[in-house]
Subunit: 440 residues, 2 copies
């Protein structure tokens, strides 16, 4: 293989073959192809695109650049959920134990937060003792025993993706639909799952700013996953306002625990249950959404879902008492209710501004090497369509001495728009994307 | 400057400003911008193009990445010629001394051959003792005394171009009109010239395969040079058959010397005189082509042009006797006339096949680090439109023991197409490109 011939092919909008894509990715993984050739190829892909077929070959090559976890000894269906990320998105913490209660194993490998988007790993690590770095044997043992385990990406999984992502970040080639598709799908499919439900978010607090772009990405991922022999669905969901009423790390664990106990906010519960139902349907555990919701609600009401979460936390070295007595989670030094400046109705809660405010408090990362303050964040956030009274809190800030409280508060004030006239709530779930020609 | 922001701008087809282009090129020259960011930027430029204005800023930034030679103490007009390269193109060797005789200084910095295209430096180095690596002081002294000096590129001239070209070569980004324009023009304008005549070749033996592409490149270079305050013209010329009757290194010096003595082949003389005439016109030494040709032919007939060449060779350390007694130039061990297989008329002399044949003899380079055999090549080549007789030579091969003679001969046989019916000669000069709105 002569790398520049393959770059030339993509440069001239010709399709790369399976072998060519595999050789290029292998060459990059071994270091035979240097970053500068990959950078030229990446910009050519960015500008000239990739067909579904090429994207599938790319995903496969990236997945096989490292270890594909063998879960074949676990004799229940294996399924996972992936979200493209948003503010206040703690769905995974609720969904994984809940779906595991229904006889579907959830081998979830998650990421850390970067920019305004929080990471599941950071949230889990606010539970004292919780280890996201289980060995593969520990991960598989936890999965076998509890049917769910939530860890971070290991060095073995899709190493090509890790190196490539860092390169894309500094060469302005991140927002490419085929490259995002391959990057997400190669890691998820390396988990050894049979099916996958995607939560593709759009709006102010999402990576994709428009519904159209989210739709495009979702269809790409569903098509590529299907071509790779997996059952894949996607939901298009609204991320113009944060999900639920809390955003941060420990504050989100609190909300997740409350949700597992049946006391979660409506929007968060609706999305979590619908995503979980799609997983049960794809895993052939139920016939339809109605049956799925009945089963899922049953496990919440019986306490089994919360119980499952406690067990999973314990088997990860976490303190299960910290999720029973939530005061044992990290707590910020001070709480500041933010009063509504006027009577009225909430017309907007800008998820981007909320996310940036939380970052100023210390809950997020600007760079991958930054540390996160697990205690800070916001709770008791109002939702679009709700009525507020002047002087009553529209949210509560959880701050520590290192938090940039004033700057954050200014962003929160800008984020929440109150108008005199009533406002309709915003629909959260916009669309279900199925594979072409499929009815489930 | 954040390099990825500028890459993003070009990726999104927005125009880069003068300052942004300068910062990017400076960053690349100092090493602050790594090759992988330059590779991504280069592919974005390749695919999204650059305006005339951006290309001018780029040329200027690349030129100022190194030394711009100060020729202001030389009180005659300074002009140069640049050819995009072809087979048998020894025009520079004739033109530089000839134009110098007319009171125009020619500070010519040339390149080496690569691929099938021969290089002026290699041809000059077949003259025993000729040094292409004069110091700047020696170069300027020769220029001042003889009004012409022909050297190789120094490390000081446009270092950004040298590093970038090597990168483009391995990232499939060489054939980009704005990048070729900037690469050629930054080096030429660093010579400290007032005007420049470009010979942009198209056809089988040229870098640009179609006249349309040559036209595009020529207009780009004329426009960019003009925006940078220089007088620039371009000729579009046919390189489907080799120029003149010899191709190689020493054999081309022989032909150049014969031309300087008034015994050159028609096509070579026509092109050399026309390019020289444009230089005299741009330098305001003459009013029109007719006056120019009279002056130029006068210097050939008087022997002054040849005399000038001899002096230039001597001041470069070369043996002037070797161009008086041409048998002192390197000579190949054997000569092989290639007989015409049939009576007829020459319909084609494929410059690409001739070039590749000469390479097999040893006259060219596959890689920059290869060495060149100065003695090998071809001479006495027939031209399209000429009549040939079965058994008479259509060319003479000059070979050494290391030459791949049989393979080369097969290519030469394929290159020359003989047909029964008469064939019109091919026009060599297709078009003169002047700056927009100019009549000279």
């Amino acid at each position: 293989m002569v790398p520049q011939w393959l770059i030339e092919k993509k440069r001239d909008k010709r399709e790369l073959s399976e072998g060519e894509i595999r050789d290029f990715i292998n060459g990059y993984t071994t270091g035979e192809i240097p970053d500068y050739q990959m950078a030229a190829m990446t910009m050519a892909i960015y500008l000239n695109g990739m067909s579904f077929e090429e994207t599938s070959f790319l995903t496969d090559a990236m997945m096989h650049s490292g270890k594909v976890i063998d879960t074949s000894h676990i004799k229940v269906p294996k399924s996972d959920k992936h979200s493209t990320g948003g503010i206040g998105d703690k769905v995974s913490l609720i969904l994984a134990p809940l779906v595991a209660c229904c006889g579907v194993a959830v081998p979830m490998i998650s990421g850390r937060g970067l920019g305004i988007t929080g990471g599941t790993l950071d949230k889990l690590e606010s539970i004292p003792g919780y280890r996201v770095d289980l060995s593969e044997a520990e991960f598989l043992a936890t999965l076998e025993e509890h049917h769910c385990s939530m860890i971070g990406q290991t060095h073995d999984i899709a190493p090509a993706d890790k190196r490539w992502y860092a390169l894309r970040d500094v060469t302005a080639t991140v927002p490419s639909i085929p490259l995002i598709t391959a990057s997400i799908m190669c890691k998820k499919l390396a988990e050894g799952i049979d099916s996958l439900v995607l939560d593709v978010k759009w709006g102010k607090g999402a990576f994709m700013k428009t519904r159209e772009k989210a739709d495009h990405l979702a269809r790409n991922m569903v098509e590529v996953g299907t071509r790779m022999g997996k059952k894949v669905n996607a939901l298009i969901t609204d991320m113009n306002q944060p999900l639920g009423r809390s955003a941060g790390n420990a504050v989100e664990v609190v909300e997740a625990v409350e949700s597992l106990q049946g006391k979660g906010p409506d929007d968060l519960m609706q999305l979590t249950l619908y995503l979980s139902a799609r997983m049960l349907i794809l895993a052939d555990r139920v016939n339809d959404t109605e049956e799925a919701l009945e089963m899922l609600n049953g496990h919440i009401q019986s306490g089994e879902a919360f119980h499952k979460f406690k067990h999973m936390v314990a088997s990860h070295g976490g303190d299960p008492n910290a999720i029973v007595d939530l005061s044992r989670l990290p707590e910020a030094e001070s709480r500041h209710p933010l009063p509504a400046p006027t009577d009225g109705h909430v017309a907007e809660v800008d998820a981007d501004l909320i996310g940036r405010g939380i970052q100023l408090l210390g809950a997020g990362r600007m760079k991958t090497e930054d540390t996160v303050d697990h205690a800070v964040g916001i709770s008791q956030l109002v939702k679009v369509g709700e009525r507020v009274t002047k002087g009553n809190a529209v949210l509560t800030i959880h701050a520590n001495p290192a938090s940039k409280l004033n700057e954050a508060q200014t962003l929160f004030e800008q984020a929440i728009v109150i108008v005199p006239e009533p406002v309709d709530p915003v629909p959260l779930i916009n669309e279900l994307i199925l594979p072409e020609g499929s009815s489930t």
